[in-house]
Symmetry: C2
Subunit: 409 residues, 2 copies
């Protein structure tokens, strides 16, 4: 499919993709919905305002995609189809006026999750973490193969790609015995995919993902391993992860991803009926971690043990409602080889085997100034279009000094 908009070779955003995001053309302009094409965005509020889109312009001026997601798959599919038609027909000045270069807009957080549930669904990641955090024990607990283990993360700390990440303070164990507050010395990344809930629903079956998942983003579940290790028993991760979660700005629709859905790995034992699907819900999605411009890991999302469709079913089996804009984190994506691991704690085996970067420096965990970029795409080998995600980028900045002297009585 060809469009009159210039799309660079190898772009994540050909006309077959058209992911949704929220942009501002200027810092003081109201946020509006947009579709990404090549190095441009289509300003949907502008397009609707000149009558080129069959939706009220007011619906396209919003601080998030939540309301669009709430409407289910139909309205979003119609918008993408209309815009694809416009971009592949004769150019029109009114459409050109709604096209804005990507470097002239500010990308905002695309959704405002009311709840964010993160998971632990890669067999290799869970096994690696079990070995590192509970040495000597069985790495996988008995429930792991029975249900997609998950927990609720902090919605208020979700930030869009490009936002700096301040090194978090936390209570750290200390060799002298007394734990003390200090900046994390084991700041890590986690390579994940986040799925955005569309139409609301409870007690969903995995195959309901078709109607209730709006799309997907890349997600970096930044983790302070030292804070986490000290705090996490018995109620799970809290401060070790609640300081920041970075997502990519473009929600790639399930419609665009559908050609890349593939059968998941076999599950043994077979899960309870409520977790069984008729259709394939693994995703053939290539993923990469780049650290300061250097690729340090590459893996494929199709290796995940639990699918996002199973996570959706599990999350709602107790009657909990998945609401539009809610975020489902896949859990860290790690493949079996060392170079496929999705976090530094795994890549460096908790610092025992540091990474050596091209500049000769070593990394056990992240240093101030380090920039992490996650990339991901489906397809790309002709004739299959590349359906890419762009990047989820964050740079570590030093811990912020406390605003007041700490009271010490």
């Amino acid at each position: 499919v060809t469009t009159w908009v210039p799309v660079p070779a190898g772009s994540d955003f050909p006309v077959e993709n058209l992911p949704f995001g929220i942009v501002r053309p200027a810092a003081d302009a109201p946020p509006r919905l947009a579709l990404r094409i090549g190095d441009h965005v289509v300003d949907l509020a502008e397009l609707a305002g000149v009558g080129m889109l069959d939706v009220p312009a007011g619906r396209m001026t919003a601080p998030s995609l939540n309301a669009l997601a709430a409407d289910g798959v139909g309205p979003a599919a119609r918008i993408r189809a209309q815009v694809a038609e416009l971009l592949t027909s004769t150019p029109d000045a009114r459409i050109e006026a709604a096209l804005r270069p990507i470097d002239r807009v500010q990308c905002e957080l695309p959704v405002r999750p009311g709840d964010y549930v993160d998971h632990y669904s890669s067999l290799e990641h869970a096994t690696n973490l079990g070995r590192l955090l509970r040495p000597g024990g069985e790495p996988l607990l008995p429930n792991w193969r029975r249900l997609p283990v998950g927990y609720h993360g902090r919605c208020g700390s979700i930030v869009v790609s490009g936002t700096d990440v301040a090194r978090p303070d936390g209570l750290l164990p200390c060799e002298s015995g007394e734990p003390a507050l200090g900046p994390s010395r084991a700041l890590d990344l986690e390579l994940e995919v986040g799925f955005v809930v569309g139409r609301a629903g409870a007690r969903l079956a995995p195959d309901d993902a078709d109607e209730h998942v709006f799309g997907a983003v890349l997600l970096n579940d930044w983790s302070a391993r030292d804070i986490q290790a000290y705090e996490y028993q018995p109620l799970g991760p809290n401060l070790g992860k609640s300081f920041a979660t970075t997502v990519s700005p473009w929600v790639v629709t399930l419609d665009a991803l559908r050609p890349y859905l593939v059968p998941p790995p076999p599950q043994d034992p077979e899960p309870d009926p409520y977790l069984r699907a008729e259709r394939p819900w693994a995703l053939d999605l290539q993923l990469e971690i780049w650290l300061n411009g250097e690729r340090v890991s590459a893996t494929n999302f199709r290796t995940m043990y639990w699918t996002f469709a199973q996570q959706l079913a599990h999350m709602t089996v107790n009657g909990a409602v998945a609401r539009p804009g809610d975020l489902i984190g896949s859990g860290t994506v790690s493949g079996p080889a060392r170079a496929e691991r999705g976090s530094l704690i795994e890549l460096t085996w908790q610092g025992a085997d540091p990474l050596t970067l091209a500049d000769g420096s070593h990394r056990a965990f992240l240093l101030d100034g380090d920039t992490v970029a996650l990339h991901g795409w489906c397809g790309g080998a002709p004739p299959r279009p590349r359906i890419g995600f762009g990047a989820a980028v964050g740079t570590i900045v030093p811990a912020i000094p406390r605003a007041r002297p700490i009271h010490d009585r």
Copy 2:
């Protein structure tokens, strides 16, 4: 202080209290802010509309208290002071027109939390649960006395008092070995107090609670112990708690509670400086659990080991922003005596020692049809006014049949 509005003796809501809530005068009327007085509510949208309140009427028509909370303590204090003045001066037809009997309005969820962090801050509760869930081990883990252990709960499942609670389904361990989906057989309640964040803030000190806590509600953290026990390692509670959390409709302001702030129990070891306060942040708040009209537990909130002010400081020490309307759950409140325990798993020692109710029936856990009401109040012995919370009530209804046959291949 006397008001011309009739306030029944022993009411939770004398004119000194005036807690905020959200009500609808009719099912199709827009929600608006209200203050509670005796068995009436003061409709603040109505009052502002006739110019009796020094705020724009539009600000008093809102689906939640979040925006008011965001403004910090000042604006809410001025509204309460103005209404108190009106209710203790000469009656005026315009004020009487804004008074609505409580049984003629629908109470709504008072806040829409963007994040809900629940804790585990009663020494007795944590010890009891440690004994029950990890028999043979140390009941308290090493971190417990160093920081207020907490985790994120599900915002979308928070409901207002009076909402029925459907028994949740979940994957249950089975004696024959294979866990299987089924309705929980160990449905429990948890007696808690919920604190509502006011003005946003990060890296707060405990004494900042003064400026950043808007008020408090009663909170029932319904828990399915069998689902929880199977799922909770290593990432904490999820489906066992994410099906429902009931809160009382009236947010009692920190201003009204201030006379009842008292020194907390001593902490040993002394916590890290970031968790130390100059001022007392325990609350002399009497709490009760009623089951089917019968009191089954009574305790006092002042016994909690960690205060809400310390929880606020801990929650934000890593840079996470506490946002207006966020909810901080105290954790289950259990006193040292059996009759002071805040959950059935503790009261019945996991069913080993069931409760016998007045009708001769026994309870290990909750049965369908059971109604649980939490009550709480400060003061009440003259001359100290009773600053009450009303009730957080919920009735258990049977598990909802799944809408479709479960796929069984």
